[in-house]
């Protein structure tokens, strides 16, 4: 992640000679307005961000049940979680679905962006069309795809049946349920990422390509040797955003399981977010849910770091 904090403007011109009071005001304005402008964010974040985080940590140290019955446990919830196969299964599912949804999504988005970067008619129409899924509400997507993936009468199994494939029970196995859920995520976000990549592609100077062309590089070679390396910051950014989205996946698998938080009969596609929900609001074990929430945060941090270092390598040593 690159971070440009604007370099402070160089020498400030001296303000015109004002009256005393105005000078004080203006001095204050220069000194303080930065803080004033960022204050609303930090104030609200303290209430609705920091406080819940700290409170979550507090709750996670307790056996905290419905009706506020609580006993202090220390780190017992964490110990139990770490040795709970259900938790690790949810972690595995979350990472698996994340990988299955992010990698194809970003590759497809790159391909789409590359295609959109050509000389084309109806550019706005094309761009709007591939952005269309992004504005579809998430529950709608999940409901529609669940129906498409239905075992006995779903369109996808019917289509596969034309090629002699037996009906697949998509919820039944890890691989099939992961694919189904990942496809919902892919469908919604590929176009959006493609547009972001397209924007970045258009900032790449043309003469770089022209020079490569003169050297006899094929379009494919140019794509891999020029386009992808130049897009690296943008790719890192999209991976970063997908990481947060992917690790908190909830609505799609929830509705794919008919509104239950189990993630299939054997937890085939139970994500960590579903586990938190289930523990806290189906079994009313708030402490356990809170502990799982903190571990989810830790996972996101690790995931972001891993993805960052992976994404940095894209395009080699450029």
């Amino acid at each position: 992640m690159t971070l440009h904090v604007a370099a402070p403007p160089a020498e400030r011109a001296a303000p015109p000679p004002p009256a005393r009071g105005r000078r004080l005001l203006s001095w204050l304005d220069l000194r303080a307005s930065g803080y004033v402008l960022v204050a609303p964010y930090f104030l609200l974040f303290a209430i609705f961000g920091v406080f819940p985080l700290v409170y979550t940590a507090w709750v996670s140290l307790h056996d905290w049940e419905l009706a506020g019955d609580k006993t202090f446990l220390g780190l017992e919830n964490y110990g139990y979680l770490i040795s709970d196969p259900v938790f690790w299964n949810a972690v595995l599912n979350t990472i698996g679905i994340f990988a299955l949804s992010t990698v194809p999504q970003l590759v497809l988005a790159l391909m789409l962006a590359n295609a959109l970067n050509k000389r084309l008619r109806a550019r706005l129409f094309l761009r709007l069309s591939i952005l269309l899924p992004m504005v579809t509400s998430v529950v709608a997507v999940a409901v529609v795809f669940s129906q498409l993936y239905q075992r006995d009468y779903g369109l996808i199994n019917w289509f596969l049946g034309l090629f002699g494939v037996d009906n697949i029970h998509w919820q039944g196995e890890k691989w099939s349920s992961w694919i189904a859920i990942a496809s919902m995520v892919d469908w919604r976000w590929t176009g959006y990422n493609a547009i972001i990549y397209l924007a970045a592609m258009q900032t790449i100077p043309r003469d770089v390509y022209e020079a490569a062309e003169l050297d006899g590089a094929s379009p494919r070679r140019q794509f891999w040797q020029i386009t992808v390396p130049m897009l690296r910051p943008t790719i890192i950014f999209t991976v970063f955003v997908s990481t947060i989205g992917g690790f908190t996946l909830f609505a799609e698998p929830m509705i794919f399981d008919g509104g239950l938080a189990d993630g299939g009969t054997d937890g085939q596609f139970q994500t960590v977010a579903m586990l938190i929900y289930k523990e806290a609001f189906r079994e009313f074990d708030y402490g356990y849910g809170a502990a799982a929430a903190w571990l989810l945060f830790a996972l996101i941090l690790i995931g972001a770091l891993v993805n960052y270092s992976l994404a940095r390598r894209i395009g080699g040593g450029k």
């Binding site: 402008l37 609303p40 709750v59 050509k118 709007l128 504005v135 379009p219």
Partner: protein, 282 residues
């Protein structure tokens, strides 16, 4: 691609056209399928082979949806609108202000504060905070009210980050300096110089936040109840009650998408323009 170079790199070959055609087709199909089912009878919805053309039950299914009073679909739509609009306004305003400060003002600790925001972006507030926020809302007796789904989303680290990046590149330092020399106060600079320049970025942020809030599912599911739902909850309640009535459920999903589509079509050019100008980038 106004510069028409003769280079074959920019030529749209058949592969390009196929890729784009597939992209458009796949983007549109699930929405089209939604309309097919929403306009048919329940029996047709589970036919094999599945129907591939819309039917004629549009009006009837809309009527049945509205008759299903306990789903409170219209109230859900209105609620979602109120929630998403309020959150969008707040996030865009707060992010634009903070983005300006981080991008163009000099103050001690700016770097650290911005880094803090970057880290907070990684906090999955919806999941992390779900237990304490819920306990808090119950304590305040705000559970079941729209306050509960608005307040936790009034700020958004992503928004600040995005507006910081956008302001940095969209507002030339000289412009800010010139205004200072003219004796303009900071707020005046923000209003007169910064705001006009960052509008495309604001539009994109507004769309993203509106959508994200409109689609919020887990937190409303936890804190609201079916008497006063958001539209996502309303659909999910329909889904729980009328399990075997696909046209009804699909009509709900279709109508939940319409407002977003409307905004999208209305401001499509602006949004694509904003995205293309690099509103969202690292």
């Amino acid at each position: 691609m106004s510069t028409a170079t003769g280079s074959r790199v920019w030529h749209a070959g058949p592969l390009t056209k196929i890729t784009l055609a597939l992209g458009v087709l796949l983007s549109a199909f699930p929405l089209y399928f939604m309309i097919i089912i929403a306009t048919r009878t329940n029996d047709e919805a589970v036919d094999v082979p599945p129907p591939l053309l819309p039917g004629g039950r549009l009006g009837e299914n809309v009527q049945r949806l509205l008759d299903a009073e306990e789903a409170h679909f219209l109230l859900g739509l209105a609620n979602s609108f109120i929630v998403a609009a309020t959150v969008t306004l707040s996030v865009v305003a707060i992010s634009t202000l903070a983005g300006f400060a981080f991008a163009k003002l000099r103050f001690r600790g700016a770097k650290v504060l911005l880094l803090t925001i970057l880290i907070t972006m990684m906090v999955p507030l919806q999941q992390m905070g779900v237990v304490p926020l819920y306990l808090m809302m119950v304590e305040l007796e705000w559970n079941g009210t729209l306050k509960a789904v608005i307040l936790p989303f009034l700020v958004n680290g992503f928004g600040v980050f995005m507006m910081t990046q956008y302001t940095t590149q969209a507002v030339p330092d000289e412009l800010v300096e010139a205004a200072r020399v003219d004796g303009a106060a900071t707020m005046r600079i923000w209003w007169n110089v910064v705001l006009p320049a960052v509008r495309p970025g604001m539009a994109v942020l507004a769309l993203l936040v509106f959508m994200q809030t409109w689609n919020e599912f887990m937190w409303p599911l936890v804190v609201l109840d079916p008497q006063n739902p958001t539209v996502q909850l309303s659909i999910s309640n329909l889904n729980g009650q009328y399990t075997n009535d696909y046209p009804l459920i699909f009509m709900g999903t279709a109508l939940s998408v319409v407002p977003l589509l409307f905004i999208f079509v209305l401001f499509g050019r602006q949004i694509v323009g904003g995205l293309m100008e690099g509103a969202v980038k690292a």
